[in-house]
């Protein structure tokens, strides 16, 4: 196990380095024109451009530029070009909201997906297969920002079942208001995944339900519920948990950005979206780098946990 962890960690460091080089290339090398012009924004004076050039070392060789960029990114001194606000501070402020959104949605789609998948597997047949297939296809065909905008407008603003967007701190308005404000964003984000997850759970459960050890469990006279939960579900959830870990990372770097923006949750994603709208390079650069780093580290953790749960992985 230690060897596996060491191997995985070395791979992670290499990928992190490669990701940082890729981000550097994307922002400084691949586009046409001078990087200082892009960094400075649309209405910059020649003086500002000159200053940025010096500050970021754009007149130096590429490896110095790369070093300067990493130094700026990880010393927490990156400043937005349009409103001069410290980028790292903004990200720190928004992070709890983004995590609250992503974690809540992930728990919701996991629980619902497993329940629905198990139910349709036990009631295996044409209609239950159709149900999860239709749900899955609808889930992957909807842009989350569109669904979110409509849900907020109708369920929130017009009919008043949910709050009309926004986020409240637990410390200020209490736990219930916090939960109530996040509930609709959670449901919207989870809707995209519930179908796919129930489909996966249904098929893995159908794969294991006829295995010998399940028959043994039944033969021992265990209650059906116990057979399903302790024997069938436990073994069929392993691939689902891995998928879940990977999707969680992707949601943080994807769906959460869009959902947050639509529901005005003021997290990292919305900060990111607003910076994109202003074509403000430093925050876009920072969120891209931090986001990609987070996903890489998180995926490594998922791999390690997976290996701890399932010894067969370590050997391959």
């Amino acid at each position: 196990m230690t060897a596996f962890i060491v191997r995985r960690l070395i791979a992670m460091v290499l990928v992190l380095f490669a990701v940082s080089v890729l981000v550097f290339l994307i922002f400084n090398v691949i586009p046409n024109g001078n990087p200082e012009d892009r960094m400075a924004g649309k209405q910059a004076t020649p003086l500002v451009i000159e200053q940025i050039k010096k500050e970021w070392g754009f007149d130096k060789p590429l490896y110095t530029q790369y070093g300067k960029m990493m130094q700026k990114l990880f010393s927490g001194q990156l400043i937005s070009q349009t409103n001069r606000v410290n980028v790292t501070e903004e990200i720190k402020r928004g992070l709890p909201r983004t995590l609250a959104l992503a974690i809540g949605a992930a728990l919701l789609w996991f629980a619902t997906g497993v329940a629905l998948g198990l139910f349709t597997a036990v009631r295996a047949g044409q209609w239950s297969d159709r149900l999860v297939t239709v749900l899955a296809i609808i889930g992957i065909s909807m842009p989350v920002f569109w669904l979110g905008a409509l849900a907020r407008n109708y369920l929130g603003y017009e009919w008043g079942i949910f709050p009309n967007g926004g986020y409240t701190e637990i410390g200020e308005e209490g736990l219930w208001q916090w939960f109530y404000h996040l509930l609709l964003p959670w449901i919207v984000l989870a809707t995209l995944f519930i179908g796919v997850y129930s489909r996966v759970v249904r098929s893995t459960v159908l794969d294991t339900i006829n295995d010998d050890y399940v028959r043994t469990a039944r033969a021992k006279g265990l209650a059906e519920r116990r057979v399903l939960v302790r024997h069938v579900l436990r073994n069929s959830l392993i691939p689902v948990v891995t998928l879940w870990g990977l999707d969680f990372g992707l949601v943080l770097g994807g769906g959460a950005i869009l959902t947050e923006t639509v529901f005005d949750l003021q997290g990292v994603g919305q900060y990111f979206a607003e910076s994109i709208g202003r074509l403000d390079v430093p925050p876009v650069l920072a969120v891209t780098m931090y986001g990609a780093f987070f996903v890489v580290v998180f995926n490594t953790l998922v791999d390690i946990v997976y290996a701890a749960l399932d010894p067969r992985i370590r050997l391959s």
Partner: protein, 350 residues
């Protein structure tokens, strides 16, 4: 993965096909392609959705016909101060409080069929031209993805060793990146600077920027399965035979291996196009894709959400069109997969 169900439901089908074949007295040599076509033809739901997609593409192609003959305006032409005659009365296209008129149907001879947007632009015209842009990006990006991913997968799987190591590690890095994040980073930096391809320079506001970006970031979906297939196919006897005949590497890759992977590629194409269209919408929504005033479904939704309370049609219409398109591709793609590979191993996923 889930072999149990599809097999039991599909086996009778295959049996039916075989009986049909013998009844038609062509016992030998029914190609897998013909079998697949027959299976697909039997899947009425998939066919209906495939037809729907074709209709959507045709309506996008017909955009200028509607714009010139019915609506009498262009996709980016504003009518902020115009009025139209409704039941003999003059009505402002955009009211003084900024609320545009809603869908009119044929009340004004098809003008503002789906209403106007906040700048007084005809939504129906924009929708059709937006469909052109969104579909162009989705389809062209997928072609780029297929070309690049197949080449990379073939090279990695065929040459193995360091070629494979370089390509596979590169794909690992791309895979580590959330697709949307990578697309946004590229979208922002390229739209600010444009892209120099050596032989030509792509302007920052060109449709080709989101197209190239989406084509590039989607490579990972296809390159890995292709590489895996090449790795197993290259050990087969027919490749050995080709090599014994003195066939060059290029010939083996493109004339021997590639035809054997066509079914994998075909299964992926509708899903790739669907994902590309969704990604375009997300990028344009955030302002890192199609640049305004160019219409696309993503930019139209972004514009519409600002007026959602007073004019919900501006959000519902382009989004509904987008969902319909992506849905039709996904359902049709599911049917294609079932037809080509009844014991499906490729799973529906994002």
């Amino acid at each position: 993965m889930a072999a149990t169900d599809p097999v039991t439901t599909k086996l009778p089908d295959v049996g039916g096909v075989l009986e049909e074949v013998s009844a038609a007295e062509t016992p030998a040599g029914t190609s897998p392609w013909r079998l697949a076509t027959r299976r697909l033809r039997r899947n009425k739901v998939a066919l209906a959705f495939g037809l729907l997609f074709v209709l959507l593409v045709l309506s996008a192609l017909a955009a200028p016909i509607w714009a010139n003959n019915v609506a009498d305006t262009g996709p980016n032409k504003t009518h902020l101060t115009d009025t139209i005659k409704l039941d003999g009365k003059d009505v402002n296209v955009v009211e003084f409080d900024g609320v545009p008129i809603g869908p009119q149907g044929f009340k004004a001879d098809g003008k503002y069929f789906l209403g106007a947007d906040g700048s007084g632009r005809d939504v129906m015209v924009r929708l059709l031209y937006g469909a052109r842009n969104s579909l162009f990006i989705g389809i062209t990006a997928s072609i780029i993805t297929v070309l690049l991913a197949v080449t990379l997968g073939l090279l990695a799987g065929y040459y193995r060793k360091w070629v494979d190591a370089v390509i596979s590690r590169g794909l690992d890095v791309l895979w580590a990146f959330p697709v949307l994040l990578l697309g946004i980073a590229l979208g922002v930096s390229l739209s600010l600077g444009g892209l120099n391809l050596g032989f030509t320079t792509v302007q920052g506001n060109s449709l080709w920027i989101p197209t190239l970006i989406i084509g590039f970031v989607s490579i990972v979906y296809l390159a890995r399965p292709i590489r895996g297939q090449v790795l197993s196919l290259r050990e087969k006897e027919f490749i050995e035979a080709a090599r014994a005949q003195g066939a060059s590497d290029g010939r083996i890759m493109f004339r021997e291996l590639l035809p054997n992977m066509m079914s994998t590629i075909l299964v992926f194409v509708p899903i790739l196009v669907a994902n590309a269209i969704l990604l375009e919408a997300a990028l344009s929504f955030l302002g890192a894709g199609v640049r305004p005033p160019n219409p696309s479904w993503g930019t139209m939704i972004a514009d519409g959400i600002k007026l959602l309370v007073t004019s919900p049609h501006l959000t519902i219409v382009p989004g509904g069109m987008l969902v319909l398109t992506v849905l039709s591709l996904n359902v049709f793609g599911d049917g294609v997969r079932d037809a080509l590979d009844p014991r499906a191993t490729i799973k529906l996923d994002q």
